[in-house]
Structures are given as C-alpha cells and as structure tokens.
Symmetry: C2
C-alpha cells in the first residue's frame, strides 16, 4: 500500500501578476506528469483568443451571454473581470477531478485566486513573482500586445496586487524557469506528505501485522 497514492486530489492555485510566468510554470509542472495524478483546470473567458490559443485547451472561449448564463447557473468556482474581459473557473470539472484523487492546477490572476480562496480555502495558494520589476517590464514589452501606457498601468497594478501575497501559502520567484518549476514540484510533494486522515489506514494495517 502506497500512502502517497491514497491521497485525495489537491487544488494548487498558481497565481501572480501578468508576466510573472504562471503559464510556463504550469506547463513545466504538467509536462512529465501522469494525467491520472495531475490535471490543468481550463478557464472560461470572454476575451479574444491570442495567436496559437486553441478553444478547449488554452481556454474555453465564450460569448458574454454564455458566460453570464454560467454565472446564473452557479457554475463557477470563481469569476472575475480583468481589463474588461471575463474569466471564470468551471466548478464541476474541478471538484470532479479532486474527488477522483487527481490534483488540479489552476493558473489564475490574483483577483481570481482571492475569490477561489473564499470558495475553496483548502486549496494551496502559490504566488509566482518575477525576479524584478525591470524583468517584468521586459517580459510584458516583449509580448508585444500592449501599448507603453498600458504597460505602465499594468506595472502599477502589479505593485498593488503583490500586497495580497500574504493571503498565499507559498511564494516562488520565477527567475530561472527550471528552478521555479522544481520548487513548485517540491511544494506539491511536500503537500502530499502532510499528515492527513489517510495515515490512519496505514496504521490500521500495521496493527494487523503485529
């Protein structure tokens, strides 16, 4: 009997400011991962797809009407408006996976993460920080989708958002990507090593053996 296989799924919230590298960290985390152990939550959004983004993989792209209907059905774990677009986490899919013992990784902006914390306080909240504001500016500029004014607004917003870091459990600075991914993997391993109810199954077995 493997104690660590007996776990119930855990919800890992990978969050942080735009440009910190949440997405690449999630990709690295899930790359070598057994899909029966860990799975990425896919958000619904009303924003337009960026180049290369595929519906049902990157996001569920939805109209504002569809999004509103899902809110009314109480179908989101959280939903929020960011820069004029709506983002939401479909509730049923996340809970179903957790019940099957599969970890769910949720990549989400800070406002969304705080809402998830209200709805699901048992989640493990990981804040991804850029190594510096200069590096963050470089990354956002390099993306090429935003004006200089928009970038400055975003950096000021980032500083405000970072003050919510004390609501999180862990912080990972994303300087060297592979190190950041390894750190998140260590957090996942540690969280699955926590003393939990599962341990009593193992102890019962020990009692039978003696």
């Amino acid at each position: 009997m493997d104690l660590y296989d007996q776990h119930s799924g855990k919800l890992f919230i990978i969050s942080g400011p735009s440009g910190a590298g949440k997405g690449t960290i999630c990709k690295g985390l899930l790359e070598d991962c057994d899909p029966d152990r860990m799975s990425l939550s896919i958000s619904m959004t009303t924003r337009q797809p960026r180049k290369g983004e595929i519906d049902g993989e990157s996001y569920y792209f939805a109209t504002k009407e569809k999004f509103q209907a899902t809110i009314e059905e109480d179908g989101f774990l959280e939903h929020a408006e960011v820069y004029g677009n709506c983002y939401g986490t479909p509730k049923a899919k996340v809970l179903e996976k957790l019940q099957q013992g599969i970890d769910v990784v949720l990549e989400i902006d800070i406002q969304g993460a705080l809402n998830v914390k209200n709805a699901y306080p048992n989640g493990i909240f990981i804040f991804i920080l850029p190594p510096s504001m200069a590096e963050l500016r470089k990354r956002i500029t390099g993306r090429g989708t935003d004006s200089r004014e928009a970038i400055n607004m975003r950096l000021s917003q980032t500083l405000k958002e970072i003050s919510y870091i004390d609501k999180y459990d862990y912080v990972v600075v994303n300087g060297e990507l592979s190190e950041a991914v390894d750190r998140v993997k260590a957090i996942v391993t540690a969280e699955h090593s926590r003393v939990s109810k599962n341990i009593y199954k193992l102890i019962d077995k020990y009692k039978e053996e003696i």
Copy 2:
C-alpha cells in the same frame, strides 16, 4: 537579491520509531548540503556508545552527573529518558545556528519530539514511518543488539508511539531510502518557499524600481 537566501534558519525535527531509519535519512539529507545552510543537532546522551559511534559526532556521551547538571542549568531544548538512558538536545547550539540563518536538523525519538514541540512550536515535525511492521522487525533484528523479548516490547511500543503522528506536520514512509530522502528535501524546499516576513524586503525593492 535571492529571496530564499534571506531566510532565517528553520528547525526540522526528523522523528519516528526506533528502526524507521531516522539516522540514515538525516545522513542523506545532510550529505550534499552546504554546512552554512544546514547542520545536524548533536544530542547529549548517557547511553553507552555503540560500535563506530564517536563522541561529539554521533552524540555527546555524558555521565549521569554531567547530564543532570545540564538539566539544572536549563541547558536542554528537551530531554527524556528512553529505555533507561537519558537523551537531551543542548539548547544554546540549536538557537545560535537558527539565529545565524542555518537550518538545524534534529534526529530524535517520539517522546523527545513532543517535548521539542512544546518548547519550539515553530519547528517542522516530520514523522518517519517504516514501510511495514514486518520490515521494522527485520531491521531491528538485523541490528543484533536486542533480545527477541526486547524486540517484541519495542514493536508494541512503536504502535503506541505511532498514535502521536497527528502532532506532526509531515509523514515520510522510509521504504526506498533515496525516495524518502528526496521527499524530506522537498519538504525543506517547500518550507523555505512559505510566504514570510522576508518577502516584504523584496517587495520594497520592487517599489524602488518602478
């Protein structure tokens, strides 16, 4: 500025029943480790040295009189009597290292760990379990220092002790040693990734940059 270098030292308590492999796990943990980052706490004991044990490395071997004097000086973080021998953790050395930002690893029996928890609740308490009672019997027998009767007494004691596992933060099953060591390393990494006061130093630096 490396956030993770700015940490204050943490006390990791590696504990569990006799024969679970606490010692070999500690050895593995410290093997590749910078002594400026992590250091093993050396206990004082009144028990006789086993073959190969060196005073000041394995333990500080002491007379009952010396041990009693240290108790009276309030010189222990914890002390306890186990199987007729006294064990204690010299307080000053542990606290000094923590203040220098060095992690301290404390290998200790369960009774001792519970006492440390009272004295130092900020410690990180890791319970090492053998993979089975059959395997534990094999390990204790192989050590060759105890009679069959003593072994049976010890296994019954072990079952009682395991019930204290809910006082611990983490549990690591020591089946495959290298896996167990990696799991403890992951716990150390995760604990140093916790959101703490150090993060505000980094955020202040971000504010200056923008």
